[in-house]
């Protein structure tokens, strides 16, 4: 070992890193290129870290029943180009060209309480999970599937996702997979999966894996190739006490899953988790920028960035830093909190905020956000100005974690 090290040392390198002895010209160039690429990559990482110091700001426009929203309690939101679909407690709203159109059971919708939405990007069809079944809206026609007229496992459809020819639903009695080409329904429950609770809250489907958030039962993973199931559970059991923070899923009571770039993001009522297939990383209010451990949804943007819907505001994580957008919990005035990797927290002055703290879901329209809350739907219009944390925390001594943040 030492001999080899000495050899390396003896061979040495020139200024550009090219071996000066026993090297052919070609090898020299190859090595130079390789090292150049390495430098470029390092620069890119550095640049991205610098960029990551910028947290987005938004101007918020809010919708309530006063300006056309079918109901103020908005369970979910979905963006399809310029069409915004809002699932509310009393109907499905479609916002297009500045006006709202509402779908209710009289129009063929399965139920007025709309819990979940999914878009079939191939066909443009919208799948609507409700408290009374699953509806498909296709160019204005509404077809409804219930536990009575179809193979749907249960009429309470908390989550829905479309992947290829399959429509996955997370229901109050297990999960269903509807094959759009054959019409076959496959049900997944405690009899054929490691699902020891059947209350499925959310589903996220990709080509390789499908994940279910099972309320009280952790996370289930379905391998599309082998059709095998695997469960992920809180190593501490169902206790709310976190004994081993990053040893596994943060809690059994999961409410949302988001699988993107082969990274699984999980929301629970007791914190959030990120899983890369090998390692878990968990997020708690006490040691992250989450404003609350009570989460209704997580939506991954990519492997490193995600949006968290909590009962105390909307949180954004860029892989290092955090931002929270909400009306202040005490004064209800617009508030944006930022937190850097060191735990420094600062309240950024803003003029608008989402319509309510209790966030239930989010979707993206380019750089803009649409946010479902317990009292209204909010449109976050991305502003050119970002919050540069280097400037924010470089100009003053950082506060202690969460200091100044009203939690």
């Amino acid at each position: 070992m030492n001999t080899r090290m000495n050899d390396v040392n003896r061979i040495g390198t020139a200024a550009i890193g090219c071996p000066v002895e026993r090297s052919s010209t070609a090898r020299c160039y190859r090595t130079a290129i390789r090292r150049g690429c390495l430098l470029l990559a390092m620069f890119a990482i550095f640049a991205s870290l610098m960029f990551a110091q910028d947290l987005p700001t938004f101007r918020w426009e809010n919708f309530t029943t006063a300006n056309g929203l079918p109901d103020n309690h908005v369970y979910c939101v979905l963006v399809n180009g310029q069409r915004i679909w809002a699932g509310t407690d009393n109907g499905l709203g479609l916002y297009e060209n500045g006006t709202w159109k509402v779908f209710r059971p009289a129009d063929g919708l399965a139920h007025q309480a709309v819990l979940s939405l999914a878009l079939d990007k191939h066909t443009g069809d919208l799948w609507v999970g409700t408290m009374g079944g699953l509806s498909r809206i296709s160019a204005g026609r509404i077809d409804t599937y219930t536990q009575l007229n179809s193979g749907l496992s249960n009429d309470i459809v908390y989550g829905v996702a479309v992947q290829g020819d399959s429509v996955w639903t997370a229901t109050a009695a297990g999960a269903s997979r509807f094959n759009l080409r054959t019409g076959q329904w496959s049900l997944f429950n405690e009899r054929n999966t490691p699902m020891f609770e059947i209350w499925n809250y959310a589903v996220s489907a990709a080509e390789d894996k499908v994940y279910l958030a099972v309320w009280g039962g952790g996370v289930l993973e379905f391998d599309q190739a082998t059709e095998h199931w695997k469960d992920y559970n809180d190593p501490d059991g169902e206790t709310e006490m976190v004994v081993m923070k990053d040893q596994g899923l943060i809690h059994e009571i999961t409410t949302s899953v988001s699988y993107v770039d082969k990274i699984l993001w999980v929301a629970t009522y007791f914190g959030a988790s990120r899983y890369d297939g090998r390692y878990w990383h968990n997020f708690l209010q006490k040691d992250s920028g989450l404003p609350s451990n009570f989460l209704s949804q997580v939506k991954g943007l990519d492997a490193n960035r995600a949006w968290f819907s909590t009962d105390k505001g909307l949180a954004y994580y860029d892989g290092t830093n955090w931002a929270v957008y909400r009306p202040a919990l005490d004064t209800h005035k617009p508030e944006m909190l930022v937190r850097d990797a060191q735990g420094n927290v600062k309240n950024i002055p803003v003029l608008s905020a989402p319509s309510h703290n209790y966030i239930l879901g989010v979707d993206f329209q380019g750089d803009d956000l649409w946010v479902a809350t317990a009292h209204g739907l909010s449109h976050g219009i991305r502003q050119k100005e970002s919050v540069n944390l280097a400037k924010v925390f470089g100009s003053q001594e950082g506060k202690k974690p969460n200091e100044g943040a009203t939690q």
Partner: protein, 664 residues
């Protein structure tokens, strides 16, 4: 027992109805059969004569009963059955889809001379020519494929998979994409022609069948032979599914109100007028009203800037119907519209200028005003049996009409509106019992004023998905679902209450009395018709795996179907086991039971056990069609477990049972 009930009903209503019918029937100038005695006879004598004729016909019908075995043994010749056509841009060649011989015949349009016969898949149904005319596409309904033919070599060069029962086909040359309407999977396959891979499946309506490309290439329209599923006993609603070819997505569904079967659609060259051939059924009122008004309205839907919104227009006349409008074509100069009426053996010619004038003048819907057709119909041209596909020569001077049950093509001079020649495609010269029976099945000539025939409800010898109030027993009594006709031998008796012991009874006196209200079939005709009906085979079952190697779900369902004990271990009464009633090769024990599905409107809750093969294709279910899906048979209509023991099943077990039933 049910037969006695029929007789009783006849004694209550039949005399009056028949007397009136006879009067009306004698006014019908086009009835091909001798008419009933005119009413100028003394009433008693007429009644006696009528009674004797009914008895005689009944005896003849019974005597004419062909045994199923005899029917099955009838050799089936390979008739051609030309269904659809495409014509080359120079008007020289016709490509003719021959449904029964599984081929495309290439013939010279001028002489009918056969250039080549190209073998394609099983039961070819539709054809499309690429914009440059270098490629032909033929859907093979029973192979679930599209044959791709090189028009230079006239050979099949590729075969592409599709959905269930591919029908209409369109090639979008600009996007190099193939669109196929799948009748049984109710969707439209979008196939990347370069790779041959199906890239997406678009939701269509029920019975997606015919596709048409708008002249500007921006939209594809899809029509449907069945109406969309709706609430029980609601007005049928169909749609025109509109696909944007740029995004390859469905962007609109134009509603077709009160339409049960929509067939071909075409658009004028200027893109301003689109026309759909369609059937409007009156299935919500008793068929007793055959003589009071139409049972089916043969009509067109129009849309486009020439007419504004969707407009429906009648094709029939006050005392004559032109059944089963099917193929449509518009002259290049938009002067005339041509339409095959498949049940009336004719082509209807409409003057487009007068049609548009009528539409613009009449502000209220007038599709039920049968006098309106006189304003725009310029002629009715008799052609061959069961005319279907149309092709116009590029100059618009010649119209070619595929006479499906003659193996010929009528050539019509579009100026004189006369048939100038008939091209013989070269099918068998002998017209055997099967073909004679098929002609009877598809014609409307036997019904009062030519209103409808068997194939009005049994579209392409299948179903129509509707519930009917067939008999004159009062409004809303004995509602019945339309049953499948596939492979019926060995499933007797017929009718939902099992009241007709055999097919001659089903197709003979019953049809005369309660359906057609006009001429009955003579004994030979009845034999032929029954022979044809018995010859209808099963369509391919798409749910049964190759070699009957059932999937795990289907295996589990089979075990439930065959079980003798409930999950709690209790014995299931033999008569309440699935396999008791649904036994034998056709999954029926040919008996009648009360399974608790009777409604207050039913005279008796006892119904015939239906056969189950291909049950997946024949929604809705139960005798009256009240179960809109297989699931509802048990989730809604079996609360007391009178139709099998199912309340101990979990939802996934019920799904397994249904997966198994679909394989039968």
């Amino acid at each position: 027992m049910p037969a006695r009930a029929d007789t009783r009903r006849d004694s209550r209503y039949g005399v009056f109805s028949r007397a009136k019918l006879d009067k009306l029937s004698s006014e019908s100038p086009r009835s091909p059969q001798p008419t009933a005695p005119p009413t100028r006879f003394p009433r008693k004598l007429a009644l006696l004569a009528r009674f004797l004729s009914v008895v005689a016909v009944a005896l003849l019908a019974i005597a004419a009963q062909p045994a199923p075995r005899q029917s099955a043994a009838t050799p089936k010749q390979r008739y051609l059955s030309p269904l659809e056509m495409a014509i080359t841009p120079d008007g020289r060649l016709l490509y003719v889809v021959c449904q029964d011989s599984d081929e495309v015949r290439v013939v010279e349009a001028a002489s009918g001379k056969l250039v080549k016969s190209i073998l394609v898949g099983h039961v070819p149904r539709a054809i499309a020519l690429s914009a440059a005319s270098r490629i032909l596409f033929i859907t093979n309904a029973w192979s679930d494929t599209v044959s791709v033919v090189d028009t230079t070599t006239l050979q099949v060069v590729r075969t592409l998979p599709t959905g269930f029962e591919p029908s209409g086909v369109i090639f979008d040359s600009r996007a190099n994409a193939l669109y196929v309407a799948n009748r049984l999977s109710n969707d439209i396959s979008v196939i990347d022609f370069k790779t041959g891979q199906e890239t997406k499946r678009l939701l269509a309506g029920r019975g997606a069948s015919y596709l048409s490309l708008s002249p500007d290439g921006k939209f594809i329209y899809c029509t449907h032979v069945y109406s969309n599923p709706g609430a029980f006993r609601s007005q049928p609603e169909s749609e025109i599914t509109v696909i944007d070819t740029a995004t390859q997505t469905v962007v609109e569904r134009k509603p077709l109100h009160n339409v049960a079967g929509a067939f071909h659609l075409t658009t004028s060259a200027d893109g301003k007028l689109s026309v759909v051939a369609q059937l409007r059924p009156k299935n919500l009122i008793p068929l007793a009203h055959v003589e009071h008004g139409w049972v089916f309205g043969d009509s067109l839907s129009l849309f486009g800037s020439d007419v504004g919104g969707m407009v429906q227009i009648p094709l029939d006349e006050l005392d004559r119907y032109y059944a089963l409008p099917w193929g449509v074509a518009i002259a290049p100069d938009k002067s005339k519209l041509f339409l095959t009426t498949a049940g009336a053996q004719s082509v209807t010619v409409i003057d487009v200028r007068r049609l548009l004038q009528t539409v613009r003048t009449r502000r209220q819907p007038f599709v039920n005003d049968l006098s309106a057709s006189a304003d725009y119909v310029s002629s009715r041209i008799p052609v061959g049996h069961n005319p279907r596909g149309l092709a116009l020569s590029p100059d618009g001077n010649r119209l070619y009409v595929a006479n499906r049950l003659d193996d010929t093509i009528s050539v019509i001079d579009t100026t004189s509106e006369k048939v100038i020649s008939t091209l013989d495609l070269g099918g068998p010269k002998e017209v055997n019992a099967l073909r004679r029976g098929e002609r009877l099945f598809y014609t409307a000539e036997f019904a009062f004023q030519g209103g409808f025939g068997c194939s009005n409800c049994h579209i392409d010898a299948t179903i129509d998905g509707l519930e009917w109030d067939l008999e004159p027993d009062g409004f809303g009594k004995d509602i019945v679902d339309n049953r499948s006709l596939e492979n019926l031998a060995g499933t007797e008796p017929f009718k939902w209450n099992g009241g007709n012991p055999d097919m001659p009874t089903e197709c003979g006196p019953r049809t005369e009395k309660y359906f057609f209200r006009s001429q009955s079939f003579n004994s030979q005709q009845l034999t032929d018709l029954v022979t044809f009906v018995y010859s209808l085979p099963y369509r391919p079952n798409r749910y049964r795996p190759p070699n009957d190697d059932l999937t795990p779900a289907q295996e589990r369902g089979k075990a439930i179907f065959e079980r003798t004990k409930s999950k709690q271990g209790a014995e299931i009464a033999e008569t309440n086991q699935c396999g008791y009633c649904h036994s034998g090769p056709k999954y029926t024990n040919q008996r009648q039971f009360d399974i608790g599905s009777g409604k207050a409107t039913d005279r008796s809750p006892i119904i015939d056990v239906p056969q189950l093969p291909n049950v997946a294709y024949s929604a809705p279910y139960l005798h009256d069609g009240s179960a809109r899906s297989l699931e509802e048979i048990w989730t809604v209509f079996n609360p007391k477990e009178t139709h099998g023991v199912t309340n101990d099943l979990t939802k996934d077990e019920l799904n397994d049972l249904i997966e198994y039933l679909k394989t039968l």
